[in-house]
């Protein structure tokens, strides 16, 4: 099977869905990039991270729309087009820019289906480059998905590898509900086997990339990559772990998490977001409520600290929960 990067897997998903359904279009800042530039190159950017590369050459400027820097208008226009029967994809250059477009996301997009009594759906995908790791500091490095998970009406997806990235993006585009699609910037160059043909990965079903007996590790997005590293290392010592990658925080596959904890009796939850009201706290609370009888040790939460994301390399490394933090937490549950 061909090996592809997370970036190319996403790009391929977009090309294939544009081909399949002419209602699909994308709008955002620099999704082609180069409109009215002095070089006359239309596809100069292909998105800030190259995910939308070459779309404009194949599908034209009416379906690959470079917008002004106007995040509210970007999300709002996607919402309105979806209400009018289209299948828009909006790209925000960084997930942090949710802040500028918050009303259109949580008061408009998330609300329409319910507030209008189920008489419409609003099939928008918002693509959101997310996370720390590129020293982009406090306003270009946040995860944001933990905040969005608390909003009823939004699906919140965060693929951890190239295979899931393609399959989940195709699912998101075909979904009738709004999907916020968080692409971790630190994963764009990661590679794995990705089929050439279009396929879907269902939203709301967890993956279990590692299976073991001693501890359940639940991790999201780039934390999955770090967890795999630790789990493979501990396996050499004879400590084996289930690794659950929920792939979406809403809907959340509670069943897979609870079944695993029932078998192992120990839980470590890992995420790059800050700790308060975040995904680790949410899952710890869920397991404490629904799986308490299975637990043999206190639940360990591994998260970022409750600070903005810092800039300097040393500081950012200290901020992001990495393999060392995960390993310490696993050992603690076994102590």
């Amino acid at each position: 099977m061909p090996i592809k990067t997370y970036r190319d897997a996403l790009n391929e998903a977009l090309h294939q869905e544009f081909e399949r359904d002419e209602r699909v279009f994308i709008l955002g800042e620099d999704v082609s990039g180069g409109q009215a530039g002095s070089a006359g190159v239309v596809d100069a950017a292909g998105g800030i991270f190259g995910v939308t590369k070459d779309l404009v050459n194949k599908f034209g400027v009416d379906r690959v729309i470079d917008t002004p820097i106007s995040e509210s208008a970007i999300i709002g226009a996607a919402n309105g087009a979806a209400l009018a029967g289209m299948r828009p994809i909006a790209e925000l250059m960084f997930a942090d820019f949710i802040g500028v477009s918050m009303d259109q996301i949580f008061n408009q997009l998330a609300k329409f289906r319910y507030m209008f009594g189920g008489k419409t759906t609003c099939p928008v995908v918002v693509r959101l480059p997310t996370g720390a790791g590129m020293n982009m500091a406090a306003q270009h490095s946040q995860t944001m998905y933990q905040m969005m998970t608390s909003v009823p009406g939004l699906k919140v997806v965060m693929p951890s590898n190239a295979y899931d990235a393609k399959g989940l993006l195709i699912s998101a585009i075909r979904d009738d509900d709004p999907v916020l699609f968080f692409e971790h910037k630190g994963l764009y160059n990661d590679k794995c086997e990705v089929p050439d043909e279009p396929y879907t990965v269902p939203i709301g079903e967890a993956d279990m990339p590692r299976e073991g007996d001693d501890v359940t590790v639940v991790a999201f997005s780039r934390s999955v990559k770090f967890a795999i590293k630790v789990i493979d290392k501990l396996a050499e010592e004879g400590i084996t772990c289930d690794l659950v990658d929920p792939r979406s925080s809403s809907p959340l596959d509670e069943e897979t998490i609870l079944e695993s904890v029932e078998a192992t009796g120990r839980l470590v939850v890992v995420d790059e977001s800050p700790p308060r009201c975040g995904l680790t706290a949410d899952i710890a609370a869920m397991v404490a409520s629904k799986g308490f009888a299975s637990l043999k040790a206190p639940i360990e939460q591994v998260s970022a600290p409750h600070t903005p994301v810092p800039f300097a390399r040393e500081l950012e490394r200290a901020y992001v929960p990495g393999p060392a933090h995960i390993e310490a937490a696993i050992r603690k549950t076994l102590a």
Binding site: A84, G117, P152
Partner: protein, 319 residues
């Protein structure tokens, strides 16, 4: 304009007026929950615009949206049921006064967020353009909304993409409780011009003036020239919401706008003067409207109520 069309326009103006006057009375009974913002006084704008539209044109309305929804063909009885919170309402009682929508009529929803609508209308206009249709997407905004950044973003994007949006600004003199003269810096009309689109000015108390302006906006869009704006000053007969004591307005002002800026009186005077409709015909239309409003309230009171389990419906997942 032919006689049927004139009578229909008059009936729409009257329906909105009586719908709102009746709500003002019924809300005092306590049967209707929540906050209600009445459109009375501004009817000529909604009807003047929407009489030029059909079901394939889109509108995005505001928190003061009953008039826009009626003018665009929203069913009056189903709207009343929604305002009463019945499961037979247009949104099954989940939206209420501020969130009336009817997608079959091109009503993409009244919107409780001031400035929430214009970006949505630009999106609908993108859909129209991509399908190659000859339609328009209209957003209604007030003087209050005109100060929101989202509205500027929407106007700029519409101009950049050259989509068939029509930005209607109805200046009713007040954003919530604060006068437009205070809150709108500079000149609202020039703001729209500043984005490089034409603005067609209308008298917001005169149906015919708004209708003419809308015809121009539609011609502009159909010719492939992209967005335009309509600016209309109009009176707001009631407060920001039902129950607002309106201490910020003088009694004289309220009396004057009822006497001298009543779109119904102005319409009647015009059509009687040019003999296009008779007094008897107008009175007969009035009677039909009064009966419709009575029927709507009676039906809404008797309509089925939601049950607790309905809370969990119409969302992809609930916990």
């Amino acid at each position: 304009m032919d006689k049927d069309k004139l009578l229909r326009a008059y009936s729409q103006l009257k329906t909105i007026r009586e719908f709102e006057e009746r709500l003002n009375v019924e809300i005092a009974t306590g049967e209707i929950a929540g906050f209600t913002h009445l459109y009375a006084g501004q009817e000529a704008v909604a009807v003047g615009v929407c009489e030029s539209l059909d079901d394939k044109d889109y509108i995005v309305s505001t928190h003061r949206g009953h008039g826009h929804c009626i003018a665009k063909g929203g069913d009056v009885i189903d709207m009343m049921k929604e305002i009463y919170g019945s499961t037979e309402g247009l949104c099954k009682g989940k939206g209420g006064s501020m969130h009336i929508a009817d997608f079959d009529r091109g009503i993409l929803g009244a919107n409780g967020i001031v400035g929430g609508g214009p970006p949505l209308a630009v999106g609908a206009a993108i859909a129209i353009k991509q399908r190659g249709d000859k339609n328009v997407a209209v957003s209604f905004s007030g003087d209050g909304s005109s100060n929101q950044g989202t509205v500027f973003e929407a106007m700029n994007l519409a101009v950049v993409l050259q989509v068939p949006s029509v930005f209607v600004f109805e200046n009713n003199g007040y954003g919530e409780h604060t006068g437009a003269d205070y809150a709108v810096g500079g000149d609202l009309l020039k703001r729209t011009e500043g984005f490089g689109m034409p603005v067609f000015t209308a008298d917001g108390a005169d149906f015919f003036s708004v209708y003419d302006a809308t015809q121009k906006a539609i011609e502009h869009a159909n010719a492939g020239n992209g967005p335009s704006a309509i600016y209309a000053e109009c009176p707001r007969y009631f407060g920001h919401y039902v129950g607002d004591p309106q201490n910020y307005r003088s009694k004289e002002e309220l009396k004057d706008i009822r006497e001298n800026q009543d779109c119904l009186k102005i319409f009647r005077a015009k059509v009687i003067a040019d003999q296009s409709l008779s007094e008897a015909e107008l009175n007969s239309a009035d009677e039909e409207v009064m009966k419709l409003i009575d029927d709507a309230v009676t039906a809404a009171r008797a309509a089925p109520r939601p049950v607790a389990a309905d809370v969990l419906e119409d969302v992809y997942i609930n916990y």
